[in-house]
Structure formats: structure tokens, C-alpha cells
């Protein structure tokens, strides 16, 4: 009761302000791009948009990255901007279902985006409609210490046996093969994603994260058995549950660990910590099951038109601008990430080029990430289970049963 009245009052207040200002051409954008590079990138995009549309007055509200995750729920209902950034895949489903995002098929039709943004179309589509414009993504894979690999005479492993052998060589030399910090859980999700994608393939992985397959399925167990091989061989650093992903960078920088299953955003802090491009390399996660086409993980960031915004036309104009090849080239150059638009060019950076190469040749499908593909509740329980499994592998059956129980409750 209370909430509805408050919402009404807020909506009324905003609509009065908005109608007064609508003639001047307003556009309100909310983003969570508070880190230096994303902030700079958005500043540039907005400046560029303003230069081309001098009659539109853009208001840009910048939110703290973590706080945004809760505030988006409030502002979409009570005081909606015209555009808001978010993530593709299952992560946007609650807002689509609640009718807070608006479909933008017309923007895609008018600007020929079905071709230009084809690679991300799948993850932007829910119920046959397209719910926003993707503007950036980045690859996941294994970042490794090239100098240590060379020192030990290890060639870049391309399959599971080579990978395990490489780990053994590293261990014999006193280097832990893989560093990871699972304090905030999601890093373990990345490892699971890759093991499952390589063991069972993209379709199975998506079915599992959507809740269509039982967690106690033998195929899941096969994935976990592969993971257990690594755990039994002591591939991961000890006490990983005590570290955040940033803290887990330290062993790699100091040469105590040689590999990190991570997203491309790890490159910047590794460079800042003093690793040169000669010391740091990128490789695709090695093949496990030769019958499964290689799928990759590449989370996509997106901008959405809100259902309660007041300046839909201007919003669509901005979306069309953001989708353009030259704009995506520029924003991703600043972000240090990959553009979605097939006409854009990739920044001159070793890791971006490697990622672009890998993703362009991916025929197995592109997953978003465990916590974006699976519904929130499942994601949390799943990643917690993975962390527990990494510490106590013997509890596997209990963990899988727990996840299965949750899946059944959620499917009810």
C-alpha cells in the first residue's frame, strides 16, 4: 500500500518535470560505469552523441558499480531514466518479466543491427523480442606466465592431457599451476563453466543453467570428475577461499603460480603490478572432450530502453548511435574490450586481438557466465557449491543433491 502511493507520487512528480522539459529534448541515462576506464568511455560516447544531436539535453547519472545492482530495482519502478545499462542473458529476465524494460526490435530493424550485432542477438532475445543494445564484451580464458612456461619448456597445452602434464611439470618446479580467489564465489563459476563447456558442450551447459537438466545427472558428474582430477593433483593454490580475485593475482605476479582462469579485465591489474607482455600470455581453455565443439565464455554488457522512461524516441536515437560500428570501436578502445558490431575494429592490444581471434572462430556457442546464464538463486547456490567442492571434494554427492533440490523447487 505504502509503496504504491510512494511510487505514484514519485511518478507524478517526475512526469510533471519531464513534460515541462520534454520540448527541449531530454534524455536521462543511468549507468554503473564508475571505474575509471568505463567512466571515461561513457563520457566520450555521450559527448559524441551530444555533438551530433545538439538539441538533446543528456542527463547522465553515474552510480557506484555495486550499489547499482540494488538501486536499478528502485529507479526502474519509481523514477525511471530513459536508458539504463545492464547485462545480457538470464540476468535481464526479471526486468523483462516485470515489464520494466522495453523491446527495441524497431531499432534493430531500422539500423540493420540484425547483421551487425548478430553475434549477441541470441543473448539479447527473450520471447522472440530483442530487449536492448549490446556494446561490449570480453573473452575469458587462461592467462598464464609465458616466461615460466618457457623456462620449464612447456608448450601451450591444447588438450586435457597436455594441460595436466603441464601442471605436473610446474608442480615439480615448485610452481602452483593455477591461482584462484574464491572468496566472492564467482571465480569458481568461471572454472565450472569452462570444464562443463569442454566436457559436455554448450547446449548441455545452457540446459543445465536454465534448470532443464538434473544436477545429479551423470554428465554433471563427469564434469566434476575432471575438476576433481585437478584438485587431487593440487592444481589450485591453497586457501583460495580466503582471497578475492584481486588478492589471488599476487601469487601469479610473484611467480608462485602460473595460470589464472579469468576474464580479460585481469590484464590491466597484472600489467600494473609489473608484468610485461613478454611475461604474460593468453590461451584458450584446452579441449577435454574431442567430440564437443569448443564453446567460449564472453559476458556481454548492454544498454536497455526502460518501459517507464519519458523520452523513448531520444532513447532509441541513442541506442542506434551506440550500436554504430565507429562508436563501438571507440568505446571499446577506451574500455580495453571487444566491440560487438562486426564492422568495428579491435584495439591494438595483444590480448584483445587474441580474444577477438578466438571468439570469431568459436563454433560451439558463446556463454555469458554462470551467474548470468543461471537464475540468480541458482547461481548463488551453485557457486557456493563449487567453492565447497574445491575445499571438500568428498562432499560432491551432497552438494549436487542440494543443488538438485533447489532446481526442483524453482521449477515448481
Amino acid at each position: 500500500m505504502f509503496k504504491t502511493t510512494k511510487t505514484l507520487v514519485a511518478a507524478l512528480a517526475t512526469s510533471t518535470i519531464m513534460t515541462a522539459a520534454a520540448f527541449a529534448g531530454e534524455l536521462v541515462i543511468n549507468t554503473d560505469t564508475s571505474d575509471p576506464a568505463p567512466k571515461q568511455a561513457f563520457q566520450e560516447v555521450i559527448d559524441g552523441f551530444k555533438a551530433e544531436n545538439p538539441d538533446i539535453n543528456v542527463t547522465w547519472n553515474l552510480f557506484d558499480h555495486e550499489g547499482y545492482k540494488t538501486s536499478i530495482r528502485n529507479f526502474l519502478t519509481a523514477d525511471a531514466p530513459d536508458l539504463a545499462n545492464w547485462y545480457a542473458g538470464n540476468r535481464m529476465l526479471p526486468y523483462v518479466n516485470a515489464g520494466l524494460f522495453e523491446a527495441v526490435d524497431d531499432v534493430w530493424d531500422e539500423n540493420n543491427l540484425h547483421d551487425q550485432l548478430a553475434s549477441a542477438k541470441g543473448s539479447m532475445t527473450i520471447d522472440g523480442k530483442i530487449w536492448g543494445v549490446p556494446y561490449t564484451y570480453y573473452q575469458w580464458g587462461i592467462y598464464y606466465r609465458k616466461d615460466i612456461f618457457e623456462e620449464q619448456g612447456i608448450a601451450v597445452p591444447t588438450n586435457w592431457d597436455e594441460f595436466k602434464a603441464a601442471g605436473e611439470t610446474l608442480k615439480a618446479a615448485g610452481v602452483t599451476p593455477i591461482t584462484i580467489g574464491t572468496k566472492y564465489l564467482w571465480t569458481a563459476g568461471g572454472v565450472f563453466d569452462y570444464l562443463n563447456l569442454r566436457t559436455n558442450g554448450y547446449d548441455f551447459h545452457m540446459a543445465l543453467t536454465k534448470g532443464e537438466v538434473a544436477w545429479t545427472d551423470d554428465r554433471v558428474k563427469a564434469t566434476m570428475a575432471n575438476w576433481k582430477e585437478l584438485l587431487d593433483a593440487g592444481f589450485f593454490i591453497e586457501n583460495h577461499a580466503a582471497y578475492s580475485w584481486q588478492e589471488a593475482l599476487a601469487p601469479m605476479v610473484q611467480g608462485e603460480a602460473a595460470m589464472y582462469v579469468m576474464g580479460n579485465f585481469a590484464v590491466a591489474p597484472l600489467r600494473e603490478a609489473g608484468l610485461t607482455d613478454d611475461q604474460l600470455g593468453f590461451m584458450q581453455f584446452p579441449m577435454i572432450n574431442p567430440d564437443v565443439p569448443m564453446a567460449e565464455e564472453a559476458p556481454t554488457d548492454t544498454i536497455h530502453l526502460t518501459a517507464n522512461g519519458k523520452n523513448k524516441e531520444n532513447g532509441k536515437k541513442f541506442l542506434a548511435y551506440l550500436a554504430r560500428a565507429d562508436v563501438q570501436t571507440q568505446i571499446n578502445e577506451t574500455l580495453g574490450q571487444l566491440p560487438i558490431n562486426s564492422g568495428s575494429s579491435v584495439g591494438d592490444d595483444k590480448f584483445l586481438k587474441a580474444g577477438y581471434e578466438m571468439l570469431s572462430n568459436t563454433d560451439g556457442g558463446i556463454a555469458q557466465f554462470f551467474d548470468r546464464d543461471a537464475p540468480a538463486e541458482m547461481a548463488k547456490a551453485g557457486m557456493e557449491g563449487f567453492q565447497e567442492f574445491m575445499v571438500k571434494p568428498e562432499r560432491l554427492d551432497k552438494i549436487l543433491e542440494r543443488l538438485e533440490k533447489l532446481r526442483q523447487r524453482m521449477n515448481k
Binding site: 530495482r73 564465489l185 586457501n239 580466503a242 540468480a376 548463488k380 567453492q387 523447487r409
Partner: protein, 296 residues
């Protein structure tokens, strides 16, 4: 009207003065309690429509391992946090002397309570750090292998409680220090004449006079134990795999965190937590009522 006011002025005035407070208390405390209780019978993601599910949230709660882990941790917190009281008393007795610069020592001992819980959490995370932390460097001297306190389900709750005891001890110390100021010197003198000293003096003469301070110390320590949220959030985020969670943190996780937004389920946890606290609050109110009446 005038005469009604005149006649009842004495009776009405307190209520008028209390009115703003009562109003605030109703709006921000009483009303939300009923709101939470009613919300706990619904399933709601905070955005869409609420669906009535009856006691389903509670039934699920009964079968939820994480809930029992949190409940168990809450009990451990409540019991072990009480150590702050004797520790605070000990420090207060130790500092209750007149030497040069005692004020500086007192301030230094009080210091941990002044800094934010978040900072305390960070300091202790570094202290426990398995590779570079002071604790493990110290243990290494005795040839003990490093213990990852915050990554081991066996130690994690105790590790966080130890961090919480640091500022809480300082708080109890300050309460006892002020209490010691009020101790009647004549009674001590009399006790001395009767040949009381040491532990006997403390137990039979000093402690009874510190009863009000002890009472407050118990209250703030229990409240502190139930407020453990910030330390847990900073030091472990409830981990590893939810083993250091307490009810307040679990409720936050279910209702408001990135992966949560199960408002109904969160409300159900809140109701259970409320009922547990009710037992304590009722006891507390009853005791206060009895004391004010002067009975024993």
C-alpha cells in the same frame, strides 16, 4: 475544555511529550514488524506481483541447511561474545590506577572501539592472511603450518568473533572504568579493615557496586553480537560456502544481495530472528520492571 486540560494536565503532559517518539517508534519499528510478518507469507521478488504461499517459506526454512548453520553461529556468537565482559572488567581494573600518562593508555585501549567495524574487519583479515598475515608468521616461528582461519569452516566463526571481541572489550572497559569511579571509597576502606583483599574484595565489595555497569555491558554485548553483520560481510562475505553466516546476514543475503531478492523468504528469516530476540527482550523488560519496582 480549559478545565478538562487543567484537571488532566499532569496525566496528559507526559503523553504529549512522548508523542513524537511514539509516532516514530510506530512508523519505523512497530509497523515494519507487522509488515515483515505479513510479507513472510508471500513469495515476492521485490518487483512483480506478490503471491500468497501460506507457511511455505517457513516449511522451506525448516529444511534449509544454511538456516541451521546461521542459527548455530548466532548461538556461538551470543555465548562467546560475552567474553568481552570479563575481559573488559580485567582491563578496566588494570587501568584504574594513577600513574603518569594513564590517560594516554586508557585512550589507546579504547581506540579499537572508535574505529569503524569495517576497518577492524580489514585489519583482522590481514592478520589472518595465510601467506603474509602476522598470525601465521608468528605460528611459523613455532613450526606450525599456516592456518587459513577465514577459509576453514572449522575456525572461521571463531576467527570473526575474535575480531569482534577486540572493539567490544574496549567498550566494556570504558563502561567499567566509569563504574569504578563511582565505587564508594568508604566501603573499600571498611572492607580493608575487615581484612578483605584480592579476589574476595573484588567479588564481595567491588562487583556488587558495579552491577549497573555489568547490566549495561551485558545489554550492549548482546546487541553487539546480534549486530555482527558488518564484520562477517567484510571478512568472509558469509563464506566459505556460507559457513560463517548468521541469521541477520543470511536474511540480507536472501532478500537484498546481488543473487537474492526473495523478499518473502528473507522476511521469514527475520521473523524467526525476531522471535529469538523476543525471548531475550521479554526477559530484559521483565527484569527492568522488577528492579524499578524495587523487588527482588
Amino acid at each position: 475544555m480549559q478545565s478538562y486540560w487543567k484537571r488532566n494536565q499532569q496525566r496528559l503532559a507526559p503523553w504529549i511529550f512522548l508523542a513524537p517518539g511514539i509516532f516514530m517508534f510506530c512508523v519505523y519499528v512497530i509497523f515494519p514488524i507487522f509488515q515483515s510478518v505479513s510479507l513472510s507469507f508471500y513469495e515476492w521478488d521485490g518487483l512483480g506481483e506478490k503471491t500468497y504461499v501460506g507457511a511455505e517459506n517457513y516449511i522451506e526454512l525448516m529444511d534449509d541447511e544454511d538456516f541451521y548453520t546461521s542459527l548455530k553461529n548466532n548461538v556461538i556468537w551470543l555465548v562467546l561474545y560475552m567474553l568481552a565482559i570479563p575481559a573488559g572488567l580485567f582491563v578496566a581494573l588494570f587501568l584504574n590506577q594513577t600513574v603518569r600518562g594513564i590517560r594516554i593508555y586508557k585512550s589507546l585501549f579504547f581506540f579499537p572501539f572508535v574505529i569503524s567495524q569495517v576497518v577492524v574487519g580489514l585489519v583482522f583479515s590481514w592478520f589472518y592472511d595465510p601467506s603474509y598475515g602476522l598470525l601465521n608468521i608468528f605460528l611459523g616461528v613455532f613450526g606450525v603450518d599456516p592456518i587459513a582461519v577465514l577459509a576453514d569452516e572449522r575456525y572461521v566463526t571463531y576467527g570473526i568473533i575474535a575480531a569482534g571481541l577486540w572493539p567490544q572489550t574496549a567498550y566494556c572497559m570504558i563502561l567499567y572504568l566509569t563504574g569504578l569511579n563511582a565505587v564508594d571509597p568508604e566501603q573499600i576502606e571498611a572492607a580493608r579493615l575487615d581484612n578483605a583483599k584480592g579476589v574476595k574484595m573484588l567479588w564481595y565489595v567491588i562487583l556488587p557496586q558495579l552491577k549497573p555497569a555489568t547490566f549495561i555491558a551485558v545489554v550492549v554485548t548482546i546487541i553487539g553480537a546480534l549486530r555482527s553483520f558488518d564484520l562477517i560481510s567484510i571478512m568472509t562475505d558469509g563464506g566459505p560456502y556460507g559457513t560463517s553466516s548468521v541469521l541477520a546476514f543470511y536474511m540480507y543475503e536472501q532478500a537484498f544481495s546481488e543473487y537474492g531478492f526473495r523478499m518473502g523468504y528473507g522476511a521469514a528469516i527475520a521473523v524467526v530472528l525476531f522471535l529469538i530476540m523476543m525471548v531475550y527482550i521479554a526477559f530484559f523488560l521483565f527484569k527492568m520492571y522488577r528492579d524499578e519496582r524495587g523487588g527482588h
